[in-house]
Symmetry: C2
């Protein structure tokens, strides 16, 4: 069944006009017509079974019918990742959506060369991945901010899994197996690694857990996917069968 | 330091002529000249420090000087993955090399649409990723074979981590935490999943451990990277710091 993320409130019987892009997708790409079913979610009201109520040249209207799944709290996991090359950032955003990250915060480090990204494009990638993966929300994508600024404004109580490529940190699963649940963030550096000054600051943070992801050099997208998977398996929603 | 995978034997003082592609890369792309250093490995003799000995229009010659790292046994992990779309297969091969798989075996399942791949291109991707990630060998890439045939010829003593998207299997880390070390393979199905008949056969294999990778639907490349990371963290070479 097609799943669409929409901004509208969802209640039984609500008649909703889809925007141009989603109307085109349903009518012209997927060739749905009146009476066909789909699923809708908005990040607040759960997932709803809906039917196409009207198809015109200008727009598609849908009607929410019954609640399929109530909104449930998702793991509170942020991914903080250095702004790497565009294709790798896009992969990271797609995979973060599949792997259940609540938010992707892009960051600029001393060894980050890029400084620009298209947030609208990254949000579209996150939305499409969320629709396909079956989650009930879309991860928020945050504009690039300097690492020092992110640390200065760090939220109290959120732990940080610091993926430290320098190699003398604890094995990741050993660290996660004794770590507390609750809000977490994963930090992935740029391809050139963190500077010595950045590493020193990160290692001194009382809420940071430095870990190593094995003996090989990983690209930023590989490291991000590995760390998200390990966190979900050890502390997140991959624990229940 | 540049790392190159070469077919030649490596011994102290060995003078080696590089092939056209590697010669072009060193001389024209990286602009190395006589006396410059690089690292060489061949999957058998460890990693060697080498120097460029001669640069001509036709070829670059290098001389192996000293052993940097002896050849060490790598985790004995295969990735068996359904032949999905070309771009995703290429991602999977790149990531399998970074994540230390010894071999990638492509397979054709009932719901696999593709049947063709370019093994030379996949081997080039695996080689480049192996050079960059710092491993001492290159994963072998095997031509697509039918799943039934792979199971019929299964090597005695090799366990199988069966990533079962149907969802009633054990959580992956719970299963891996009590699993024996030794030779393993990870099995990732096509985007449409395994057929009921295939699942039945896979679940009945005495050497198979069915696991679930969480509540969301994962693309094949995401599932492969997640499972490789979890295996390395639980049973492979990510355990030592």
């Amino acid at each position: 069944m097609i799943r669409l993320f929409i901004p509208h409130d969802l209640t039984a019987g609500a008649e909703l006009a889809l925007d141009h892009g989603q109307s085109h997708y349903l009518a012209s790409v997927m060739r749905l017509s009146a009476g066909d079913e789909l699923a809708l979610f908005n990040g607040r009201d759960g997932e709803w079974r809906a039917v196409v109520s009207v198809v015109t040249k200008r727009a598609v209207g849908v009607r929410a019918e019954t609640l399929l799944r109530p909104q449930a709290p998702a793991p509170d996991l942020d991914l903080v990742v250095a702004l790497v090359k565009r294709a790798r950032v896009e992969t990271i955003v797609e995979k973060a959506a599949e792997l259940g990250a609540r938010r992707v915060r892009l960051t600029l480090t001393e060894r980050t060369n890029a400084d620009h990204t298209r947030l609208d494009r990254l949000t579209a990638i996150a939305t499409e991945a969320a629709e396909q993966t079956g989650r009930l929300d879309v991860p928020a994508i945050e504009a690039p901010a300097k690492l020092d600024k992110l640390i200065d404004g760090w939220e109290a109580g959120r732990r940080l899994l610091f993926c430290d490529e320098a190699g003398d940190a604890a094995p990741v699963l050993e660290a996660l197996s004794t770590a507390p649940a609750g809000p977490w963030a994963i930090l992935i550096g740029p391809e050139g690694g963190f500077s010595p000054k950045e590493r020193e600051r990160l290692r001194a943070l009382p809420y940071a857990t430095p870990v190593t992801l094995g003996p090989r050099i990983l690209r930023a997208d590989t490291a991000a996917i590995a760390a998200l998977s390990l966190w979900q398996a050890a502390l997140g929603d991959w624990r229940q069968s």
